[in-house]
């Protein structure tokens, strides 16, 4: 009984693990969305939805942007829009660009290493299917 429960819990783990993995990358993803220019909050949310599989709760992104700004990685400015209300646009500071470049390099080399490691696992799965 206890064993069955343990196995069930283990099978459950990958989902939670994947969620953690995604959420852990949100900060980098938010910075990356601003690489080509300024965006406002909702645009960042949509950008992340379209360019990565990072669908996040809409309320999550604003406190993160606030924090990244406090850390000096982002700046913001209010811009009047046709919508009738101003929007808060974020852009990367020089420090933010540097930090993002370091993060991107670390991420790329990390994922290259892991992909190599996981190659046999993925190949075997293909032959099984």
């Amino acid at each position: 009984m206890a064993k069955t429960r343990a196995i069930a819990a283990e099978a459950d783990q990958p989902d939670r693990w994947e969620a953690q993995l995604r959420k852990g990358a949100v900060e980098m993803a938010a910075l990356a969305s601003l690489w080509r220019g300024r965006l406002y909050g909702l645009e960042i949310i949509r950008f992340l939805e379209n360019h990565s599989r990072l669908a996040l709760a809409e309320g999550t992104i604003y406190p993160i942007l606030n924090r990244l700004k406090a850390e000096g990685l982002l700046t913001s400015e209010w811009v009047e829009a046709e919508a009738g209300h101003p929007r808060k646009y974020y852009s990367l500071t020089e420090t933010g660009r540097l930090r993002l470049r370091v993060m991107a390099e670390a991420w790329a080399s990390f994922s290259r290493g892991l992909t190599e490691l996981l190659q046999p696992v993925l190949e075997e799965q293909e032959t099984m299917l």
Binding site: Y40, L42, G59, T60, Y62, H85, K88
Partner: protein
């Protein structure tokens, strides 16, 4: 409820729960969230109700900003009160936080205790010190009432003062550093919530 009153009551609740932030910061956040709600409803054609539900409760949203601020301030602070408050908040979030909180309490108690006994030594010289018994085994240390009996001898004398001050201060410094480092590490984890 009309659309406007729905938005207004959400923003009022948000403003209320953002209490500890400065007025300027608070108003900026409220303005940004208000713009988000209007844009999001307009763009997706979803009702304001749906958009607000997607944002989560005003209280939960405000809590994310408040935690960010608390931890940001504390990771630059040396005040035990600020650091304890931040680690207490962290303790509500998981095992790591609980551990940090206990280290904080323990470190402050030991460090603060040592410094206090150093200050007490000139006033109560006979009661304060480090005692060994006849066989050279450690018996007790600190401020004792009454002082240990005649079989015990105190080994430090007035050297107790500088020693307790140095060890106590180092313990306090190490505790402060440990809490601040943990808070900074946890800040990275915040985005996972």
């Amino acid at each position: 409820m009309t659309t406007e009153t729905q938005i207004d009551s959400y923003l009022t609740a948000l403003r209320l729960h953002l209490g500890p932030l400065t007025i300027a910061e608070r108003e900026e956040i409220v303005k940004e969230i208000a713009a988000h709600v209007r844009d999001s409803a307009e763009e997706s054609g979803a009702s304001v109700e749906t958009v607000l539900a997607r944002l989560g409760s005003a209280e939960a949203l405000a809590a994310q900003y408040r935690d960010g601020l608390l931890i940001r301030q504390a990771s630059r602070s040396i005040s035990p009160l600020v650091l304890l408050r931040a680690s207490l908040r962290l303790a509500t979030k998981g095992v790591f936080g609980v551990l940090v909180f206990f280290v904080a309490i323990f470190g402050y108690a030991i460090g603060g205790g040592l410094v206090l006994t150093a200050l007490v030594k000139p006033i109560l010289p006979a009661n304060t010190g480090v005692w060994f018994d006849g066989q050279g085994h450690f018996m007790s240390s600190g401020v004792l009432f009454p002082p240990p009996g005649s079989q015990a001898h105190e080994v430090l004398g007035f050297w107790y003062i500088p020693l307790a001050l140095i060890v106590g201060s180092l313990t306090l410094l190490a505790t402060t550093w440990a809490i601040r480092t943990s808070l900074r590490v946890s800040q990275r984890w915040q985005s996972r919530l």
